[in-house]
């Protein structure tokens, strides 16, 4: 045994079948110059045991697909992850996933791999994307030993970038839903949140085109610029 082996993370034990599937996952590309409409997007929302980036875990994954500029109802992803030793925590009140629902969920490795296959090489959209990116990345590392490299775009950044007139600071998903007068169905799970986020994204893509932002790469660059400006001290 090598001296430093304890420093390396323990590689999770995977069945032959899962390893094969893992190998077949597509290589992720950078965002390109194709049009916003041509790009297939996956809109993601996770329910977690809490907001602690290091301790809390993913409970369920909900995702919808924007393809050809529309939300395609025939491509949706929805899984609850099995989690044997979950303690009843206050977050239960938020995500509504009781211990029994969790216990009946799918094997996490299996579910995560299913999701990665669903995701393919598409970029991810999420509201407060860094959180989802981190939580998903950690779960993938823990359960599959997989390194998440997909580009994530944060709808919470795109919205104020394209609608500066909204004047709502630190707005949450609910505020933006109100601002755009979106009529959303009851939201109490990851899928419904993902759908609401996706509807928001459709409106924003329409606004983006009006503001001469035509490609995913272009959008990503504008978001980065906007964020730098936001963080720069103002004189």
């Amino acid at each position: 045994m090598s001296l430093f082996s304890w420093l390396r993370p323990a590689t999770p034990l995977l069945t032959e079948e899962l390893q094969q599937r893992l190998k077949r996952l597509p290589v992720v590309a950078e965002l390109g110059e194709c049009s916003l409409r041509e790009q297939r997007w996956v809109v993601l929302d996770l329910e977690t045991t809490g907001l602690n980036l290091n301790r809390d875990r993913v409970l369920s994954i909900g995702a919808v697909v924007i393809e050809d500029g529309a939300i395609d109802f025939s491509q949706q992803f929805e899984r609850t992850l099995q989690c044997a030793d979950m303690k009843l925590a206050p977050s239960v009140l938020i995500h509504g996933l009781g211990p029994s629902a969790i216990a009946a969920g799918s094997d996490p490795a299996q579910a995560l791999l299913d999701f990665m296959e669903f995701l393919g090489d598409s970029p991810v959209l999420a509201f407060h994307a860094p959180f989802d990116q981190h939580m998903l990345g950690r779960a993938l590392k823990d359960h599959l030993g997989y390194k998440l490299a997909h580009p994530f775009l944060d709808v919470a950044d795109i919205a104020p970038l394209l609608c500066p007139q909204a004047q709502i600071r630190e707005a949450g998903l609910d505020e933006w839903i109100d601002w755009f007068k979106l009529e959303v169905f009851e939201r109490h799970n990851a899928s419904a949140d993902a759908l609401a986020t996706a509807e928001l994204a459709l409106i924003l893509f329409s606004r983006a085109r009006q503001q001469q932002i035509h490609s995913p790469l272009n959008l990503q660059q504008r978001v980065s610029q906007w964020k730098r400006r936001q963080h720069a001290p103002s004189f």
Partner: protein, 708 residues
């Protein structure tokens, strides 16, 4: 009855895009849904469905599992949350609320959700044959058609949440004729043509909706109206029921020679109020009722062994078993009879009594009419007004349409007016001059509701002006008395003094003719208004000949005077239906009250004015608006489809207005024609909007016809 196969040639296999195939490769549940379709059900369209399915299975043969497996799989796969949410959303709207769950789930799963910013084109004529079916999930879509005459575009329709488009183009496999644009931030569910076709084959509810459009919704509304009224009153059977279903199967009969005593014994044993006297071929010769028996007894007859034919009512009134309960009710009211024989192939096959028609009612139409006609004092007539209100409510409950109800109200009002005239003449003494009592306006058109005021006049014959003045002198006091008595009976006095007691409305035939000719010749705003009231004239009491001559005079003069017609057309455009370009309804706000629209002025008047103008211009003698539309269609002045649409729309607005009145009575509120669209349910509101749009269409057709 597989109508769909003509409308939908099966698309060639090329229609299956890569994407469709992928659906089948990736999802097992989809296959399960397809097979949930009731196989071999009597519903139409099965042929199409199976052919399409076979094609799909051929394409994806490798992946298709056995049907049993598919079912198990479907059971295991829970319906996705978002599919469920969208399902529930659609279930708020017709026709989706009546579709089978599996069919609706199939629809949702095949959908794409698209966003359109204001001004975005959704489909346009240049796109070629329509490839998608759209349901508005949120927002508003408007139809813009290029304006032929003026250039630019006009908004032809609006589509809002829960509604769908473009059915006609999709069914006709052609391009849309109207560009559909988003009027605000809009989300639409988009279903591809293939899925639409399949759904059309699967769901009879959906097919019915797609083929019949708004008409199928109207049927639903009518059912709803009946249901609501039935709930209040707890009775059920429709006035449209066939008489054959209501009548006694074996009417009590006897031959003409039967002794009176024997016939009455038979009636007594069978507990019936009438016996029909028939010949050897069962053809009815007469009827003998309890009323006749009363006459016999009152007349002091001692010999009850006389043959019944001496006492029966000869040649009894009859209808066929295919006539409706409504027909019988009207006949009884008009003729003051309580029994109607049913005759088929000249043989008696049943008897309907008024008790059969209104078995559970305390007060009924026939009884009411008879009581009115035999009332001895004005006070009795006054008391009966309340009963007419109850009757209307029951009529609604029995499924009467607004047309039937206005007909009945007109009938009862006519009886009341006649009785008031008779009682007044008995009271004041006969002036010894024959005269006719005229009515105008809605009464003249037989379109009265309970909420009505007096519009009447007197017509008499006179040799010359001096003679006319002399007769007028005699008739005016009587007319004024009649007006006052009618007011007591609930006919509000006319604010504009259009009443027979006004010397200007108690005229000889020559004076009326001169007055009407002046209306047509001068065409001032006042005379135009006058023509819209007086030209719907009708005789309620007295001789009808003079009135017919007046009417022919009007028709001849209007028909020959294009300028007057044009002015009438302008006049008919004054009351614009309150549907807006940018909003559902354009509402008036009065004194800070809630915004409302006037069903009579803004909804019915455009139809009434339009129908009057076209009828007068084309020599149509009838007054009733719906009847005018029918005759205009018969004379090929308007298209049958348009006529039917106007009729339906007029009918619906009138129905809504009456329900409104009933509601107001129940809550002790004053009568009002104003309605707050928000107080209507979704379906009613939507159809009201469509109905008002028909009024708009009628007006634009007048604009075109008279080049305004």
């Amino acid at each position: 009855m597989c109508t769909s196969s003509e409308n939908f040639p099966i698309p060639n296999v090329g229609f299956f895009s890569r994407k469709c195939v992928r659906h089948f490769l990736t999802s097992d549940t989809r296959i399960a849904y397809l097979d949930l379709r009731p196989m071999g059900t009597p519903h139409a369209g099965a042929d199409d469905g199976s052919v399409i399915r076979q094609q799909q299975f051929k394409k994806t043969a490798v992946m298709v599992m056995s049907k049993a497996d598919a079912f198990t799989q479907a059971g295991k796969t829970a319906v996705l949350q978002n599919i469920q949410g969208t399902l529930q959303f659609l279930q708020r709207f017709p026709p989706f609320n009546q579709m089978e769950h599996a069919h609706l789930a199939y629809l949702v799963e095949q959908c794409q959700l698209r966003f359109y910013a204001p001004g975005d084109s959704i489909i346009k004529p240049a796109d070629g044959p329509v490839e998608h079916f759209y349901i508005v999930k949120q927002g508003r879509v408007v139809g813009e058609r290029p304006h032929t005459a003026k250039g630019g575009t006009e908004t032809t329709f609006e589509i809002t949440t829960g509604e769908c488009f473009p059915l006609a183009a999709l069914l006709g496999e052609r391009a849309t004729r109207t560009e559909h644009l988003a009027a605000e931030d809009t989300f639409c569910l988009q279903l591809n043509k293939l899925a639409f076709i399949k759904l059309f084959a699967l769901s009879s509810t959906f097919r019915d909706f797609a083929l019949r459009g708004v008409s199928s919704l109207l049927d639903q509304v009518n059912q709803q109206v009946q249901q609501k009224a039935v709930e209040t009153l707890g009775t059920q059977y429709s006035l449209n029921t066939r008489l054959g279903e209501l009548a006694m199967r074996h009417p009590v009969t006897c031959n003409p020679a039967t002794p009176l005593r024997e016939a009455v014994t038979l009636m007594h044993e069978q507990q019936v109020g009438s016996i029909v006297v028939v010949d050897e071929h069962k053809a009815p010769l007469g009827i003998f009722t309890l009323r006749d028996l009363r006459h016999v007894v009152a007349a002091g007859t001692n010999d009850f062994n006389e043959a019944i034919e001496r006492h029966m009512t000869q040649a009894p009134f009859f209808l066929s078993p295919d006539h409706s309960a409504f027909d019988a009710a009207i006949a009884m009211t008009e003729r003051h009879i309580a029994h109607v024989c049913l005759v088929k192939d000249q043989r008696l096959c049943g008897v309907v009594s008024e008790r059969d028609l209104f078995s559970l009612q305390r007060v009924d139409l026939v009884h009411l009419a008879r009581t009115i006609r035999s009332a001895q004092r004005i006070e009795n007539l006054v008391l009966m007004r309340g009963e007419i209100g109850q009757l209307v409510e029951r009529m609604l409950a029995h499924g009467a349409s607004s047309t039937q109800i206005t007909h009945i109200i007109t009938l009862l009002n006519d009886h009341t007016v006649c009785r008031v005239i008779e009682l007044t003449l008995a009271d004041k003494g006969d002036p010894g001059v024959p005269f006719s009592w005229l009515c105008f306006g809605s009464e003249g058109r037989r379109e009265q509701t309970l909420h009505t005021d007096q519009d009447n006049g007197i017509l008499f014959e006179a040799r010359d002006a001096a003679h006319a003045a002399e007769i007028r002198g005699k008739l005016l006091p009587i007319a004024q008395q009649i007006n006052q008595s009618l007011a007591l009976c609930g006919f509000t006095l006319c604010k504009g003094n259009i009443m027979a007691g006004n010397p200007e409305l108690c005229l000889s035939r020559a004076e009326w003719a001169r007055r009407f000719a002046a209306f047509i010749r001068e065409a001032t705003p006042e005379s135009l208004l006058g023509s819209s009231i007086y030209f719907d004239l009708r005789v309620v009491w007295g001789d009808e000949q003079g009135c017919e001559q007046l009417r022919r005079g009007i028709l001849d003069q209007v028909g020959a005077n294009r300028l007057f017609q044009r002015m009438l057309a302008e006049n008919a455009l004054r009351n614009r239906p309150p549907v807006g370009r940018f909003r559902e309804f354009v509402l008036a706000r009065k004194n800070g009250e809630k915004a409302t629209l006037d069903l009579k002025v803004q909804g019915l008047t455009p139809f009434v004015d339009g129908a009057r103008l076209l009828a007068l211009a084309h020599g149509i003698e009838t007054n009733n608006t719906l009847e005018r539309f029918r005759q205009l269609v018969a004379k090929e002045i308007i298209q049958p489809l348009d006529g039917a649409a106007y009729e339906e729309a007029y009918h619906f607005i009138q129905q809504t207005r009456m329900q409104q009145h009933q509601l107001q009575t129940r809550e002790n509120l004053p009568y009002s024609n104003r309605v707050d669209p928000d107080s209507l349910n979704h379906l009613d509101r939507r159809i009201l909007r469509e109905s008002l749009r028909q009024a708009q269409r009628l007006q634009s057709s007048l604009t075109l016809r008279y080049q305004l």
